[in-house]
């Protein structure tokens, strides 16, 4: 399954964190952050990709494999920050 950033999420990269907010929610509870593997997933999803493609991208960049990449992908999808493109 391939995933993309939810286009209705506003974001900024702040060092090694990603500050995130649903575009429809300006309230104080709307703010969230992605760190670690979740931040990596977010940055790698500049173009839609599957878990396997993300792992391949990271390997191609010469970085060590990230074991929690799948969990991060699931967590971001559960929070509707990223969306599946096909099922």
């Amino acid at each position: 399954m391939r995933y993309a950033r939810n286009p209705e999420v506003l974001w900024r990269r702040v060092g090694d964190r990603i500050a995130l907010r649903p575009a429809a929610d300006p309230s104080p509870t709307g703010a969230s952050e992605a760190t670690g593997a979740a931040a990596l997933v977010w940055l790698c999803l500049e173009e839609p990709a599957s878990l396997e493609e993300l792992q391949a991208d990271i390997a191609a960049a010469g970085a060590s494999p990230v074991p929690s990449l799948g969990e991060a992908l699931t967590m971001l999808a559960e929070r509707n920050l990223i969306v599946p493109l096909d099922r």
Partner: protein, 354 residues
């Protein structure tokens, strides 16, 4: 740091001790320069003690969360305005961050400014009030606001400030500027949260940034950095901006901002816009208007109002003064002034006394 990303010649790296770093961090927050500070820290151009470096990073993260909240609020407000048939252009922070900076995290902002056509100003206020927005300041007579108000300040239900502008600045220069000439240039667009948001076309955006940098209260470094980024990064057609301003007696306003932006950000005296701006000599009338505007930080809104009078004909001057006076008298109690205080103050304003 004010020249980060713009400076023509790099500065030597600096290491700040605890007292200096302690003074820098609140200054950075006030000037909204958290983005450039973090870039300078990451690049080793500035070194802070560990605790203050952490504080600077926390401050930057907080500022970005605030900017995202502003953008979310703006999207909701724009949807309401669209439903009311009101066109709006995003000004300043969100527009500059997305169009003129290589990374929007380099330009922090704490509120949202929208420019509207004057005829839409009160329609917009009513539409937003119906959805839970409220005024931050006492209102004036509707006829006065419709004809002369520069800005109506609202707060969203989340208490985020939304400034609705019928003019980009107060004063002689704000009144003289025919804003239709800015809209006529078309618009740039920003995609925010999947929605398309309008911003002014590049020359109009540079003009708006330059006017705001020259004619505004409070910290201005971010506004001067906007001018620098528009000239250096976005390579806006500055001659077109100057042409727009010339038709409104505002060339000297644009020139003043460009000269100051070059000074504080160090983007280089060889830039043709800086060379043009440095040699511009304003007419006597414009020089007087600029001199009056320069007193705004000390004298406050009354200086801008006096300046605006110079751009109005006899009937409009009378109506403007009637509206301002009525407003001041109606709300004098909120400012702790007696009727006699208010009459004396009004008399001083009209005489041009300090």
């Amino acid at each position: 740091m004010t020249g980060w990303g713009l400076r023509h010649t790099p500065l030597d790296a600096v290491e700040l001790d605890e007292p200096a770093a302690g003074a820098l961090i609140p200054w950075v927050r006030n000037e909204r320069l958290d983005g450039p500070l973090i870039r300078a820290l990451d690049a080793g151009a500035i070194t802070l003690p560990a605790a203050q470096a952490d504080q600077a990073r926390s401050q930057h993260l907080e500022a970005q969360h605030r900017a995202l909240a502003c953008e979310a609020m703006a999207l909701g407000a724009l949807e309401i305005l669209q439903g009311a048939g009101v066109a709006a252009w995003v000004l300043k922070g969100p527009a500059a961050a997305h169009l003129d900076y290589p990374d929007p995290a380099l330009r922090s902002f704490v509120d949202v400014d929208l420019l509207l056509e004057r005829a839409d100003l009160l329609v917009a206020v009513r539409a937003l009030e119906a959805e839970g927005f409220g005024r931050s300041e006492p209102d004036s007579a509707r006829w006065w606001e419709r004809r002369y108000a520069r800005t109506i300040v609202l707060r969203s239900p989340e208490r985020i400030e939304l400034d609705l502008h019928a003019a980009i600045v107060d004063s002689y220069f704000g009144v003289r500027l025919d804003h239709a000439t800015l809209f006529a240039l078309g618009h740039d667009r920003i995609i925010l949260g999947g929605a398309e948001v309008r911003a002014l076309a590049p020359p109009a955006r540079l003009l708006a940034s330059a006017y705001a940098a020259t004619i505004s209260w409070g910290p201005q470094l971010r506004l001067l950095r906007d001018v620098g980024h528009q000239l250096v990064v976005s390579q806006v057609d500055w001659a077109a901006a100057a042409e727009l301003a010339r038709a409104a007696d505002g060339e000297a306003v644009v020139a003043a901002a460009i000269v100051r932006a070059a000074e504080v950000t160090g983007f280089g005296p060889e830039h043709p816009a800086v060379q043009w701006a440095a040699q511009l000599t304003p007419s006597r009338r414009v020089a007087e208007a600029l001199a009056l505007v320069a007193t705004v930080p000390a004298a406050g809104w009354t200086a801008a109002a006096r300046s605006a009078l110079a751009a109005l004909g006899p009937l409009d001057r009378t109506l403007f003064i009637v509206g301002v006076t009525t407003h001041a008298l109606r709300h004098r109690g909120e400012r702790g002034r007696t009727l006699a205080d208010q009459v004396r103050r009004g008399s001083r304003v009209l005489r041009g006394a300090p």
